[in-house]
Symmetry: C2
Subunit: 316 residues, 2 copies
């Protein structure tokens, strides 16, 4: 069902939590909010024009060829072999460098908006591939653990990036998430540099693989206790220790408040926790915010709710 | 239901495939055969007496305190706080140092036989713990990836060995296994030594975690194609390259004959492959045996069939 030139679409793409404890670079899930909005309309001139970026306090490039949303949209046009071009407006609705997949949400929104505007010429996995092109430009690597859950919703396992092989995992009923974003920044590049030179010992790898396998089993079996025990990360968290201010105290506060498990979101500084009830998750968020304030003198924002099963979608 | 002194039990414990591609030290599954048999009866003198070991060509210690079956049985008595002792006969039904969990099967049979003879005083997870004591004596490490599936049956994920945390994974219908044991030996100790000094790079770890997570998801979703793609091991197989004679040719032969995936069983030299039909699995076994013969001048044995859902059990 092609959309005629001149029609305008608005697409919301949610923030995402990647890594998810033991699942470095292979697991991610979608939040209901925050997220980015891309508005798009057809234009007669070829290529992508990024008309405006708002909500970023001027931090992001407005050049479509350097902006994740613009690059992703252009990749959709290229894959679809579409004639003409697209004009975009990017409304950032989430903090940058927060560990919540900000560039992933922009990439996802740009790719999905372009695909909707063109009448859905691409299968959903190709939309993910186009969004990965935006991630590559923004982050230096074409990883899928933010864009795939932002587009598909739910919890996604990335078996392999090249060739792309995605596995959608079930979202258990009764699972709630608390995410807290302290007002500081962790550079994804710096966080990755800490790992680039690092070599890992087999016992830690085995421990992480045990946790990752158990986490995937727990999601399928709806076993929230096992899910909580599996959130431990023996590989990346130690290598990045100290990058998130007072992380150990925040994690302790989350667990003391009843969290099933707690870990960094992406490369931080945001921290997420799982809980088995909405009000428990709200209490966990309060406890984590208090810990950031007391131990690191940091204000923060929090989001509480279930995992989003929907992912990116059209807004009215 | 305590068994009166003098009653005799016979327990069969099956061979197991551990590692299962990406799941080094965390995954294992049970075969229907081969396996070991332990016969046991109560005795009035304290402790465990190993009366006889057969089928091992004299290779194994007959001293109960140095034999995996005897040590496991003694650990059951200790955990149960039982009075008196046990006499054991160990019937080896499988090759040693084959990668098929030979010491694990003896440990499993010894522990299950002792627990049955005493009237099942221990919960099944404690029986696994007792069998791990036998593994520690035989292999130097108290790993559970052979004894747990040998006792529980099916496919078992070891999330953690200490404290022990086991996750039973579903066995998809229509999944068949071919296992080929070439007539040569790989020392588990030497295979582990190759890894002891090895440090691992993050891209290979990420690739393995993607495969491990996908393998667990594939078992739950009954997705045999995904299961096959997930069998690749980027961590251990390269580090141990060359330890199994002509392994690359054997694996190629398995895949060419229609195997879903193929990898070393344990630390080898046995090799296993998955297939989606019984006759395909039989053809895969023939192809692997031919490859061992042509490329490595090795005779071999093969076993073909579904994964055993039962694990160790009483024989009439």
């Amino acid at each position: 069902m092609p959309v005629t030139t001149g029609t305008r679409v608005r697409v919301f793409a949610p923030a995402t939590v990647s890594n998810v404890g033991p699942g470095f670079d292979v697991l991610g899930f979608a939040l209901h909010r925050p997220g980015d909005i891309v508005e798009a309309e057809r234009s007669d001139s070829a290529g992508v024009e990024l008309v405006e970026v708002t909500g970023d306090e001027g931090a992001l490039p407005v050049d479509a060829q350097r902006n994740a949303a613009g690059i992703s949209a252009a990749d959709v046009i290229r894959r679809a072999g579409a004639a003409g071009g697209i004009r975009l407006w990017l409304r950032k609705g989430m903090p940058l460098s927060s560990g919540l997949g900000s560039s992933g949400a922009s990439s996802a929104a740009g790719a999905v908006a372009a695909n909707e505007l063109l009448g859905r010429p691409l299968a959903i996995e190709d939309v993910v591939r186009s969004a990965m092109a935006g991630e590559r430009a923004a982050c230096g690597s074409a990883h899928a653990d933010n864009v795939a859950p932002s587009i598909l919703g739910g919890i996604v396992l990335i078996r392999c990036c090249d060739p792309l092989d995605l596995v959608r995992l079930p979202v258990p009923d009764g699972l709630f998430v608390a995410v807290v974003h302290p007002h500081c920044q962790v550079s994804t590049a710096e966080a990755r540099n800490r790992l680039a030179q690092h070599l890992f010992a087999l016992p830690d790898i085995v421990a992480n693989m045990g946790n990752l396998g158990a986490l995937v089993a727990a999601l399928h079996q709806g076993n929230l206790g096992l899910l909580g025990r599996s959130i431990e990360d023996r590989l990346i968290e130690p290598a990045r220790a100290g990058m998130i201010p007072s992380f150990a105290a925040v994690k302790r506060a989350a667990l003391d408040a009843g969290a099933l498990g707690c870990a960094a979101s992406g490369s931080g500084p945001s921290v997420f926790a799982f809980a088995d009830a909405d009000d428990t998750a709200a209490g966990v968020a309060r406890a984590m915010r208090a810990a950031f304030r007391v131990h690191a003198a940091l204000d923060s924002d929090a989001w509480v709710g279930p995992i989003s099963r929907d992912g990116a979608h059209l807004l009215p």
